[in-house]
């Protein structure tokens, strides 16, 4: 102990500085105070705190605030048995900064790829019964706003039979909502807004829009949109954990442009299979184009949509085949029943929040 190294000790109970000398013994580091009291600290109990610029600082595993301040130029024999510190933290120090950076970059890229693609393959794997349950939890009760008469129900059912090819049933309802729109909600529920039916020039138009929404359901876009938003918000919580922003992201949930195109393709395919002309749907998009589709209420995220209406109009126009004997999607009587459903159903309430918006799917 004659060659003890001078150091300073703060014992964590008070701010008094204790001059000490240090030396290694079999049992650990002997810390000798000026008065001669000696304490031996087992090597395993010592922790490296930091390189303070002027001193090396060590702590004690079990004693908060216990600090040993060792001069930078202390004898190497003393220093080499003291614990070494972390620089970047954890395993990054073990593998080295460059290798760690490369590994992390690859992992991050993979995580982004998974989050971006997972919804499209994970979405269809979620059982439809789950989606229905999630749907009713998210959407709640819309029954008061739906219009139903025996004749209109029969007409809707006839329309659905023609444009849907799925096995599990979709629920299609007419809603007393003053917007030219239709939506696919979680759980295989489709709402056609009454105003859309009122402004429709023919039942073919309603069939085209309905087929589009059925496309969202059959291609599992609803679940995909939910998963994508959830995945992104978790991933983004790393880059920016601003809760407001995350909520904004979730609130802004909607279908991707690809999903909209896929639903359009489905719609054209189903119209063709049912010998219904896509011309009326093309005309519908033509009318939409003249309105401003961007104005709207951001709260109603399910109603979001964005694809270029001109492009959609063109695609439906191009699908019209000159040599096919098209037939109307509904008879005049059926279409009439659909148009009068909301007026005739005494229980149907007008859906309104007091602000008028028009959004288009």
């Amino acid at each position: 102990m004659a060659d003890g190294v001078a150091a300073d000790l703060f014992d964590g109970t008070s701010a008094i500085r204790h001059p000490v000398t240090l030396g290694w013994q079999d049992a650990g580091l002997a810390v000798v105070r000026a008065g001669g009291e000696t304490e031996t600290i087992p090597a395993a109990a010592l922790t490296f705190i930091e390189h303070r610029g002027d001193r090396l600082v060590y702590g004690h595993h079990d004693r908060a605030g216990w600090r040993l301040l060792v001069p930078l130029d202390a004898a190497p024999a003393l220093l080499e048995r003291l614990p070494k510190g972390a620089k970047y933290g954890g395993w990054i120090d073990r593998v080295g900064l460059i290798r760690a950076t490369a590994v992390l970059a690859v992992v991050s890229a993979a995580a982004v790829a998974v989050v971006m693609t997972a919804p499209s393959w994970l979405g269809p794997l979620v059982p439809e019964s789950w989606e229905r349950r999630i749907g009713s939890a998210l959407v709640g009760d819309l029954e008061p706003f739906t219009c139903s008469t025996p004749e209109s129900d029969a007409a809707l059912a006839a329309l659905v039979r023609q444009v849907d090819d799925g096995k599990t049933p979709v629920t299609v309802q007419l809603a007393k909502i003053d917007m030219v729109n239709a939506v696919a909600l979680p759980g295989g529920r489709i709402l056609i807004f009454d105003q859309l039916v009122q402004e429709a020039k023919s039942p073919d138009e309603v069939a085209g829009v309905l087929a589009h929404e059925v496309g969202h359901v059959r291609k599992r876009h609803v679940m995909q949109a939910l998963l994508r938003q959830f995945g992104l918000s978790v991933l983004l919580s790393g880059a920016n954990s601003d809760i407001g922003g995350t909520l904004g992201g979730v609130a802004a949930m909607g279908y991707s442009r690809e999903a909209e195109r896929e639903a359009d393709t489905y719609s054209r395919m189903r119209l063709a299979a049912a010998d219904i002309s896509p011309a009326a749907t093309a005309a519908f998009f033509g009318r939409l184009r003249k309105l401003d589709p961007t104005a709207g209420n951001p709260q109603l995220s399910y109603l979001n949509s964005h694809p270029d209406t001109a492009e959609r109009e063109q695609a439906f126009k191009a699908a019209v085949k000159p040599d096919i004997p098209y037939r109307p999607a509904l008879t005049a009587a059926q279409f009439q029943a659909l148009r009068q459903a909301c007026a005739k159903d005494p229980d149907a309430e007008e859906w309104s929040l007091g602000w008028g918006t028009k959004r288009f799917n």
Partner: protein, 357 residues
Amino acid sequence: MTEENADKAFEFHGTWQEYAPIAFTNLLLTIVTLGFYRFWATARTRRYLWSRTRFIDDRFEWAGTGLELFKGAVMVFFVIGLPLIAFNFLIQRLVLNGDGLTAGVLGLAFFLLVYWLVGVARFRALRYRLARTYWRGIRGGSDDPGMAYGVSYMWKNFVGTIALGLLIPWSMVSLWNERWGAMSFGPYKFAADGRVEGLMGRFLLCYAAPFLALIAAAVVVVPIAMAGGGSGGPGSAGSVLAGIGAVFGFYFIFGLVVLAFYAKFFRQMVESTSLSTLSFGFTASTKDWLKLFLGDVALVVLTLGVGAIFLTYRHWSFGVRHLHAFGYVEVDHLTQSTTKELREGEGLLDAFDMGAI
């Protein structure tokens, strides 16, 4: 054993050259981890800044870790983030069901809840920072969880704003006193008895600022515009430049007046804060703050944004340079804090994106 403070009680020993390797590797690792490393980056930065800051005869130590901050953030995500997302879905569902009134009421409740949480977060961030700051092996902290502070934060800001904002200085002063009065270091409680007196003059100037700016704009801009008008009519380069200058000048003058108020507020509040036998002082004038912010802007703009990684360093160095302490410390009486040891970081503050340092 008594140690009188020497020349200046606080001194910063850091250099940007020494900090640069920390700043750049933090940036690199934060990018490749999609931001997740930022908790560890914050801890490394603080450890450097604290360890290069001397108080009397010893340096501070930041004992917080990145893992703690990360845990705090994860906890906040589950306890607050997820419920808030669920709440948001509920509001959407209500809107969808046509129940605008309930949605509105819940939306208001949601807003109040978040406002309260912001107050709690501010309190807890200060508490966490003190609890993880050591000096000579002694740390600070608080036994108050900050819930009541959140309520004060809510109503005092409301009252402060409601009367044309005239009581804002009162709410700022009162909240500072309340926040610091609940903190301690070692066995001693901080005391803060800041007063509004002396602040109202500069605060009222903030109301006058738009008019001052308009007058200044008129004096400077009108002659330029007229000169421009003489050569090329309205829309000429001269009047466009004058217009841009007027808008820029307006914001500059308004910002300057607000800064003048804040500089005085900060000086006065630090001076009214004490810890047992220690009192504090802060000497940064409006000009000093202005130079700091203009320097920040220049640093960030000239480096195309990369310089932002040095802002924390600059602000810390600025703070330490202007912070003074008077009195003495009786080190044998400065015993270990008995407040709760904190092992979760300021996740809440982080969640609201307010972690300044």
